[in-house]
């Protein structure tokens, strides 16, 4: 065999078989998108930008924030892997390589929030059967589409689409598109939820590479915090939640627009807002774009 052929073969041996981008590293979130929702947390009754159905709307209306304190099992409940990409917390990504074949088996992630760890399989394995257990992170597999990694996640536990009680069901399928641009990572998340959405929910988040980042231990221990009746589940009876109009009053938004739904996502909806007048001055989360400037006033 000639030296030229050997050189070509050795080059092929180290070249990626498919389009490959390495996402390994320490990533810090950028909060310029949806900062008030992601940093201090969403306002009660704010369902804007969510193509939810009536069932999701009533579930959120009935949600009482006391639940995450009174019901001990909620105290240490982590984000689902879909919400983890939006929530507070930094992320580490690394690769699992099969030593025998040197093929990429999976990407793995560790999030600061609840020490959540997730495996994204790259080896073509099937998703578990429908009767398998569900987890907060779900079961993720991925394929390359050019230099974009497209991840499909199923077997998620029921959780929230927004941290004000808007639910995401355990029947949802989440598709993510990871795109790296140098030291920046853009993740577009698409949630298909036949239980609570009338059309897919699409959101994007950005991260920057932060090699000096150190992710600490999260830690959480549930304990009784309030006296409660045995088996109590705080909830608002339909039509009795007194907090639902706050967000429209604080931000000068039409109440109907805060109720969400697919129609409110599209430009044509503006025609229904002809009477809308912005408040004379900003009075709430006016400078909220980073972790350190999200003061209430």
């Amino acid at each position: 065999m000639s030296k030229a052929i050997l050189l070509v073969l050795s080059t092929l041996a180290i070249a990626p078989v498919f389009a490959q981008v390495d996402f390994s590293g320490e990533w810090a979130p950028l909060y310029h998108e949806d900062a008030p929702e992601r940093l201090p947390g969403p306002e009660l009754g704010d369902y804007t930008e969510l193509p939810i159905n009536d069932a999701a709307r009533l579930r959120a209306d009935s949600w009482d924030a006391d639940r995450i304190s009174v019901v001990e099992q909620y105290q240490c409940r982590p984000h689902g892997s879909d919400y983890s990409m939006r929530g507070l917390g930094n992320m580490r990504v690394w690769r699992d390589i099969d030593q025998a074949t040197q093929r990429l088996v999976s990407f793995r992630t560790h999030m600061l929030a609840w020490d959540s760890e997730r495996t994204i399989y790259m080896d073509g394995r099937a998703h578990p059967p429908e009767y398998a257990n569900h987890t907060w992170q779900g079961f993720s597999t991925a394929v390359w589409e050019g230099n974009m990694l497209t991840i499909t996640t199923t077997h998620l536990k029921e959780n929230y689409m927004r941290r004000n009680g808007v639910p995401r069901s355990d029947q949802a399928t989440v598709t993510e598109h990871w795109m790296r641009h140098g030291d920046y990572l853009t993740v577009v998340t698409v949630i298909d939820d036949p239980v609570f959405l009338t059309e897919p929910l699409v959101r994007s988040d950005n991260w920057y590479l932060d090699p000096g980042q150190h992710i600490g231990i999260f830690g959480c221990e549930h304990a009784p915090e309030l006296p409660k009746a045995e088996g109590a589940v705080p909830n608002h009876l339909p039509g009795t939640n007194p907090f639902l109009r706050e967000v429209s009053e604080w931000y000068g938004l039409p109440y109907e627009a805060t109720r969400g739904g697919a129609e409110t996502l599209y430009p044509e909806y503006r025609q229904k807002l002809n009477t809308y007048k912005a408040p004379p001055k900003c009075d709430r989360y006016c400078t909220c774009t980073t972790l350190f400037d999200c003061n209430l006033r």
Partner: protein
């Protein structure tokens, strides 16, 4: 994720729906069939089975069971009077060490199950005859394959004869139809069920289950029907029953009739998630609450 170790073994599926086995934890596996879920604990001493599905499914359940262990079935536990939980008793008993009445597999159920079956007469005579080990003091327990197996009575829940089974070393609960994660629960008023008993049972399951780190894994819960679950899944289900119960209770306090309550659709934000008849579920809650003495 536990799913990494999943195995799918389909027995001869001649009746159109698959029967599969799913390893759960420790010595415990779950057989998933159209008649619901069967829990299997297998070891050197033999096999414990919780719920036997329907008589029609028995050949497939047995074939699937034999992919787990060739040992004899020495214990059968029925979690309720429902035919889809005990219809396979007769067939599975034949896999015991002996068919002699004094030596065959012990078939355990709460005494209310046998009482109900006897009242049903000829239609359920085979199921009634299969039970040879009723209990009335909860819990009933025994040690098998080196593991404490504890059977707890859950009074007046799905029915008045419900049992849940804790495999204490494997850390698995088999809870029958008290918990059905993808469908509304059946509150069988005619057989002694009640909404408060159901909630008491669900809260008892939450009390017994210990979640793993950050509310995941730990104690696994095998439902009567539906996928393998853990404590967090039971919480969602318990919350659903509690919230709808609260709404129906409020409507009763306002003097609404059953028809008015049904028309008010108090379960409408759960109807896209849970299978089964919401009207039947709401009616059972209404009648159960209306029957309670103030």
């Amino acid at each position: 994720m536990r799913c990494l170790t999943f195995a799918i073994l389909c027995a001869s599926c001649s009746w159109g729906q698959q029967v599969n086995v799913f390893p759960v934890q420790g010595n415990v596996s779950m057989i998933v069939g159209p008649g619901g879920n069967t829990t299997v604990q297998a070891g050197k001493e033999g096999i414990v089975v919780v719920d036997t599905q329907t008589a029609a499914a028995a050949p497939q359940v047995i074939a699937t069971l034999r992919t787990i262990s060739a040992a004899p079935i020495l214990w059968v536990i029925n979690t309720s009077v429902d035919a889809d939980h005990m219809g396979g008793n007769e067939a599975l008993i034949r896999l015991g060490g002996s068919t002699e009445a004094s030596e065959r597999a012990r078939v355990v159920a709460h005494e209310n199950v046998l009482d109900r079956l006897v009242k049903l007469g000829q239609a359920r005579v085979a199921d009634a005859a299969s039970i040879n080990d009723t209990y009335f003091r909860s819990p009933k327990d025994f040690l098998f394959n080196g593991e404490p197996v504890m059977v707890y009575h859950m009074p007046a829940a799905h029915t008045d004869g419900d049992s849940i089974v804790l495999f204490r070393r494997s850390d698995v609960l088999s809870v029958g139809d008290l918990f059905t994660p993808d469908r509304y629960p059946v509150i069988d008023l005619a057989n002694g069920g009640s909404v408060q008993g159901l909630l008491d049972g669900l809260n008892k399951i939450l009390e017994m289950a210990v979640a793993g780190k950050y509310q995941e894994g730990g104690t696994f819960v095998i439902p009567g029907h539906g996928r393998l679950c853990d404590e967090a899944d039971v919480v969602e289900f318990r919350d659903m029953v509690t919230i709808i119960r609260d709404r129906v209770q409020d409507m009763i306090k306002k003097g609404m009739t059953l028809d008015q309550v049904k028309a008010g659709k108090p379960s409408r934000d759960y109807d896209t998630q849970y299978k089964g008849s919401q009207d039947v579920f709401v009616e059972a809650i209404y009648k159960s609450l209306s029957a309670r003495k103030p």
